[in-house]
């Protein structure tokens, strides 16, 4: 199956604007909110959400970045290693409403690792999860609070998020890889 | 077997003593060479088909360690002699650093008794100590040791530092007309050293033994040789500077001789850090390459080979120094020095012939007539009437060193796994086969 584009640049923008509205609605404004993006593509998404809110509410929301490599539950079984990147959270997260941002929500294991990492950094009032794409297939009892787009997928499909900040273009594509089943969930 | 005769047919006979080289037969009777020539036949004689093989005088080793008494876990006279025979040696001179050391006639006689009982087919000649207990302080009774059969004197391994003691030793040795066989090392300078002082030592973080530590003592001994008129034999010489010192002394007519080892002629200090075919980064710290004097630089090897070709170097001696596995399976700095050398000597040395560094005849001279001249005992020749000590060689046969096959108890060699070209096929000592390879054709 050739690569198929699911979202283009303006689709992504519209989804983010909606998510930003939902965040403000749920938290009754932008007070006491902080964004933490999961590296790599959660970080520009968090920055875009902060920018959207700034244009609506004239409030600067702090944005941090989180590297979860050291918290993954499969570090000891990976056949290859990954570069540990820097976590950058230059503000206190204690008693804040922390919005964790990631690009693709899949098994839930990354989020589990991110939650562990956040707990080591402080004690937020709440942690909420915002994702651009929810593709299903959860392996842990974790759900997202804000979803840009639900995309049902088969396990052998590959969702690729490209963001202009890191990949030069904005798009979300799907591609089927060899050997899996075609069942849609 | 001594009464029966032995006929070697169609050998390429090389006798460095007479400079003869011919293809022919050798007839041995009653332990002596009875005649050489063409088409010899002898009824009832055991016959060796030596076509394709070289027959030369039996090898003579001026420097080896048999470890008995005292260190039978490393080697015994029986196992050492078996290894020597396999290496082509018919006469070997054993160093006195046993426990107790060979510093009195009683212990020398004891060693000779064991030798004649356990190793009747290899002539074992003891070297006596220079000082009691090899402690470097009091001279032994050298006349007594000489009459017990010692062929020279050495405190090998614990060189005599006190110049006055060495001078007195030479005076005494001169009267007996026996050589002082000196391990030349200024231990104040070499102290704590683990290997050759050079770039490899720096690379490995090991302390170096400078060439000067040897050369200073060679120079001292030469001066004492001139002073006393004694015969000086510099053993296991390893540096370019020492070679030049001996060359100059010989030119001045001094009674100086010397030997070098097969490993110092073929391996450089780089061997300590690099085993053949291992990646650059896996530093070996190979304790089997730890030896004293240490493996030196390529320039030293070049100078030693020049010394052999121009006659400065008289002999090649194995410095066969067997040790236990435990003594080598440890940190390089804690490993004991020495190489088990009998069984690889000829194959290793043939590499110098195959690469054209020295001629086969020169090599054989260094293994036979060269050391025989120092021993002055009439061996090292194939002349009729001489004791039938003969080594049969296949210079083209390739084999791979495997320490598991060693007859020596010492498995400590940097040549394990090396492919060598040149094999001792048989060793005949006093007319008897002391060793033969499976391929020997005998009827």
């Amino acid at each position: 199956m050739p690569e198929k584009t699911l979202l283009n640049s303006s689709d992504i923008e519209r989804a983010l604007v909606r998510v930003a509205h939902e965040i403000l609605e749920r938290n009754k404004g932008a007070v006491n909110i902080v964004f933490i993006g999961i590296k790599t593509r959660g970080v520009p998404l968090a920055q875009r959400l902060a920018a959207i809110i700034r244009s609506m509410e004239q409030v600067d929301i702090p944005v941090g970045s989180l590297d979860i490599t050291l918290y993954r539950d499969d570090v000891s079984s990976l056949s290859f290693k990954h570069v540990v990147q820097q976590t950058y959270v230059p503000f206190d997260i204690t008693n804040k409403h922390l919005i964790l941002v990631d690009d693709v929500f899949y098994t839930g294991r990354s989020i589990r690792a991110a939650l562990d990492a956040l707990i080591d950094l402080g004690r937020p009032e709440t942690i909420q999860l915002a994702v651009l794409i929810d593709r299903g297939h959860r392996e842990l009892p974790i759900r997202a609070d804000f979803v840009g787009k639900n995309i049902p997928t088969a396990r052998n499909e590959e969702i690729k998020v490209c963001l202009s900040e890191v990949d030069a273009v904005d798009k979300v594509t799907v591609m089927r890889t060899e050997g899996g089943n075609n069942e849609l969930k | 077997m001594k009464d029966s005769s032995l006929l070697i047919k169609n050998a390429r006979i090389i006798d460095p003593a007479t400079d003869a080289e011919e293809t022919g037969d050798i007839l041995i009777a009653e332990g002596k060479i009875s005649k050489t020539g063409n088409d010899i036949s002898a009824a009832g004689a055991a016959t060796i088909d030596a076509s394709g093989l070289i027959a030369c005088p039996g090898f003579i080793d001026l420097h080896c360690h048999l470890r008995q008494p005292g260190y039978e876990n490393k080697e015994t006279i029986a196992t050492g002699a078996a290894a020597a025979a396999r290496g082509g040696y018919t006469t070997i001179c054993c160093m006195p650093n046993t426990n107790p050391p060979l510093d009195n006639a009683g212990i020398v006689n004891h060693v000779r008794d064991i030798a004649s009982r356990d190793a009747p087919l290899v002539r074992i000649l003891p070297v006596g100590c220079i000082t009691g207990g090899r402690a470097g302080r009091e001279l032994v009774n050298m006349a007594e040791l000489a009459s017990a059969g010692c062929i020279g004197f050495s405190d090998d391994g614990s060189p005599v530092s006190d110049t006055r003691i060495m001078s007195l030793a030479m005076e005494n040795a001169a009267v007996l007309d026996l050589p002082i066989i000196d391990h030349c090392e200024d231990i104040n300078l070499s102290q704590g050293g683990h290997m050759n002082d050079g770039w490899v030592a720096v690379r490995l973080g090991l302390k170096g033994i400078p060439a000067a530590a040897e050369e200073i003592m060679v120079a001292r001994d030469i001066a004492l040789c001139e002073l006393t008129g004694a015969r000086l034999h510099v053993t296991h010489m390893s540096t370019a500077g020492s070679t030049q010192l001996v060359r100059d002394a010989k030119q001045r007519g001094l009674k100086v001789t010397c030997d070098v080892t097969p490993h110092n002629l073929t391996l450089t200090h780089e061997r300590v850090m690099k085993v053949q075919d291992t990646p650059r980064t896996a530093l070996a710290y190979d304790t089997n390459a730890r030896v004293n004097p240490p493996l030196r630089s390529p320039a030293d090897i070049e100078a030693l080979i020049r010394g052999i070709t121009d006659g400065t170097i008289d002999a090649i001696a194995t410095d066969h120094a067997p040790h236990t596995i435990e003594e080598k399976l440890c940190e390089f700095e804690n490993a004991i020095s020495g190489i088990s050398g009998f069984e690889t000597a000829f194959g290793v040395l043939m590499s110098l012939v195959h690469t054209g560094s020295i001629s086969l005849k020169t090599l054989l001279a260094c293994l036979t007539t060269g050391p025989a001249k120092i021993l002055q005992n009439g061996t090292g020749t194939l002349r009729p009437g001489a004791r039938a000590d003969i080594t049969l060689l296949d210079t083209e046969r390739e084999w791979t060193v495997d320490v598991k096959d060693f007859l020596s108890k010492g498995r400590n060699t940097p040549f394990n796994g090396c492919k060598l070209k040149g094999l001792v096929v048989a060793t005949i000592s006093g007319g008897c086969l002391s060793f033969h390879h499976d391929s020997l054709r005998i009827s």
Binding site: Q86, D120 | Y285, E331
Partner: protein, 336 residues
Amino acid sequence: MSLSESRPGTATRETLPGPSIDFWKHRHVLDLDDFSREETDLVFEIAEGMVEILDRDVKKVPTLRGKTIATMFFEPSTRTRASFELAAKYLGADTISLDATKSSVAKGESLIDSLRTLQALEVDAIIMRHPCSGAPYIAARSLDTSIINAGDGCHAHPSQGLLDIFTMKQQLGDLKDRKVVIVGDIMHSRVARSNIWGTRHYGMKLVLCAPPTLIPHGLPEMLEKYSLNHVTIEHNLDSAIENADIIMSLRLQKERQQSGLISSLREYIQGYQINMSRLAGAKPDVLVMHPGPMNEGTEISPDVAYGTRSLIEQQVTNGVAVRMALLYLIAGGKNR
């Protein structure tokens, strides 16, 4: 390509944040002679992530949970051992430490036997210090376990070399054309040797400064043999430190005087101590390092050691971060 540069995310499996490291081939860390520039930079990049963890209130991540790291020191040491143990604990590993200077080794157990015991206990990595050069190489050849060399004889101290260069880069940024002087007992220094190898990738100048008796004879030939052209040897400290960006002073062991390698402590101090008046002849912003432990008043004066130009405390902190990075690379992502 820089490592932090991102590749498009793929999500057939859970997206991993960082690029994968397929060029890291080391099972052991024995010396820096077999570290490529890429590998050295990788250690530094990961160490930066570790520095952030060291700034937290809760200095603990679960990365090596369930792994056991053993330290086996055949030679007394406090700082290197503490640094490695902290690094292992911060990464969530369990640690056991064997003081081999007191254990059965003193009773004559051989190196190999001691190490085999550790292997039988199924530890995931052994951090080893030994007074004999090359001992970790014997261990690496004899065992299946990963070995990290924490200093062997006069040969190598790779984690120290890495933390030194990490500290230099942290202070100076690009090291190209910078000048670093290592002064002191070069002859016996494993720190100097590992720095020689580690710095070779960075286009900098490394000057080794010592009295002739403390420079091994074979050093110039070794430098030539491996084309380590960035290294020069200098006996005069005052000319060595001209235009230097960093001066690293090495510990002078008192035994060196007893063995005659230096004629007197006083003479050594006059010629080679790093003190304020010496620094007056260097650049005003020159920085000073020391691998520790210091002999204050001998190779370095206290006012320099604790002064504003001193990086000695940063070295200690960076040491933990760099060792965390090494442990992550060696003990993480591996199935026994």
